[in-house]
Amino acid sequence: MTKLFMFEKPLGMRDTFPDLYEIKDQTKKKMEQAMKLWGYKFIETPSLEYYETVGEASAILDQQLFKLLDQQGHTLVLRPDMTAPIARIAASKLLKDEAPLRLAYSNSVFRAQQREGGRPAEFEQVGIECIGDDSVSADAEVIALMVSVLKEAGLENFKISIGHIGFVQELFTQIVGTEERADTLRRYLYEKNYVGYRRHVNELALSSIDKQRLFRFLQLRGSENVLGEAHSLLEGGKGLHALEQLKELWSILKDYEVEQYVKFDLSLVSHMSYYSGILFEVYGENVGFAIGNGGRYDKLLEKFGKNSGATGFGLRLDYVLEAMQVELTSTLQQCVLFSDERRKEAIRLAIELRSEGVNVVLQNWKGVGDVDEFTKGFSHVHFVVGQDPKGGETS
């Protein structure tokens, strides 16, 4: 191993300097406020969880987990997402009756280090979970709230793609016969390999009508009219329920007046086994990766012993900021520069300014080497120096 330089930090870890911190903090507060206004309550969970419980239940691939051992020899993970920990508490503690639970979080999560840049191993996620409500209303609320949160954060240009795991699964099983074969097809979708999907379909022993159904499935992207086309691919009752849910979702989203942000993309799937119904991803300009995602994950609560519906979303704060293309500017601060003789006066002035909400640096003249250099960064400098009690105040 090469000797580390003193400035180095582990791969994938980032520092946040004051200017960025300020913007991040402001944005996060706006997002949190929007969530609170919708009645979501914030919680915190530990950074470390058991691998056997939260680690295994989590949607994050095993090789992306940070693992360590505790003194008893249990394997621990640094929480890779917030959904699994929240499911753990919801199932064991909070979800006592039939009342839906609305929870929010804003925390760091951890993913294993990667060689390539642009993939931090620790990043902040802001999101919500709506637990104990099976209705499509809950799915719509989550999507509408996500729109509201992104707009409050200051993002205008974003798009949400919505899919439905149930539809994909039922259509595929209906056409190819077995779950196993359907899984093969779904894996091509998950790998985004449409060339491979088409080739595989061509090799299947199916009628040309069925092959056409599978090819046309890839085109199911767009607004409401997609649902009609999707309907024409179905035979019999299978998959109909999923489409009805999407239809209902669309009409609720119209009531929320957020339909302009939303498009259906029925080829959207996830590698995670616990997504069970409506799922979505959100994309912004200037970022090559989805800035957030979410969906219905009823099966996750089952893993923690509770048979209950749940849906939610998580947004990546770093990508949200990237999508907004914020310019880093220093926050406005004033300075009270004083000399010993007038210290008391200076302290009083600082207190007064702070009570008005001004950020004030109180600095003894003696401690500054180059006054011009030091005072450059302030919007206003109060000089409380010298003998004259009336003082000469300039900026």
Binding site: K192, Y194, V195, R221, Y283, V287
Partner: protein
């Protein structure tokens, strides 16, 4: 909406891809082909091309600095990037193969494979039930068996001439390769109409 950025590999694939785009009625300037610029703007079509090393095309596309890219399947297999593979352009056909000196066996102790594609090679041999050691090279892979660096090589074969001239023979074919149109998942949604137009026009040409 901003222009579409397309990452293109330099060399043979580039020429064939440009020809394909021209057939699909994209008006690309004639001097396009001999330019040494790395970024070429085509304002009349609202397109921008960036010229990259073939192996790097999926990287540009995955990070979203290019909306689309044209990449060989060999590169897609090696890099495993999270991008949509939308179309088989059916250009620049070739295949990945295992080659080596004629009438030789792989070492029993520690068979060595030299290749530009360490991931593809190692998963291929694992699937064959063989445990091999991989040596990554960046070019002139044919040298490796000739001077005793490796027992076999895994490389792209298009005509087979290079192998022949260096006295090597093919042992197995791993997979057929053509160039693919790849798309960044975010661009696929944010610029869906433009991308769909390009896909439709290209599909008409390749059939």
């Amino acid at each position: 909406m901003s222009a579409l950025t397309i990452a293109m590999p330099k060399g043979r694939i580039f020429e064939e891809a440009v020809e394909l785009l021209r057939k699909a009625d994209y008006n690309l300037p004639p001097e396009f082909d001999d330019s040494r610029k790395l970024i070429i703007e085509v304002p009349q079509e609202d397109l921008r091309f960036i010229l990259a090393k073939p192996m790097d095309v999926p990287t540009y596309v995955e990070h979203g600095v290019a909306d689309l890219g044209i990449a060989g399947k060999d590169v897609m297999l090696e890099e495993e990037r999270d991008v949509y593979e939308l179309l088989d352009l059916r250009i620049s056909g070739c295949y990945l193969a295992v080659a080596g000196l004629p009438n030789t066996k792989m070492s029993d102790v520690a068979p060595k494979i030299a290749t530009k594609y360490p991931n593809v090679a190692s998963s291929y041999f694992r699937e064959q039930g063989e445990q091999v050691e991989i040596i990554k090279l960046n070019g002139s892979i044919e040298l490796a068996p000739l001077i005793g660096l490796a027992d076999r090589i895994v490389d792209i074969v298009s005509t087979g001439r290079t192998l022949k001239e260096n006295g090597l023979v093919e042992y197995e074919t791993i997979v057929d390769i053509t160039s693919r149109l790849i798309v960044n998942p975010v661009s696929y949604r944010m610029k869906d109409e433009k991308i769909q137009d390009l896909v439709t026009r290209l599909t008409r040409i390749i059939g």
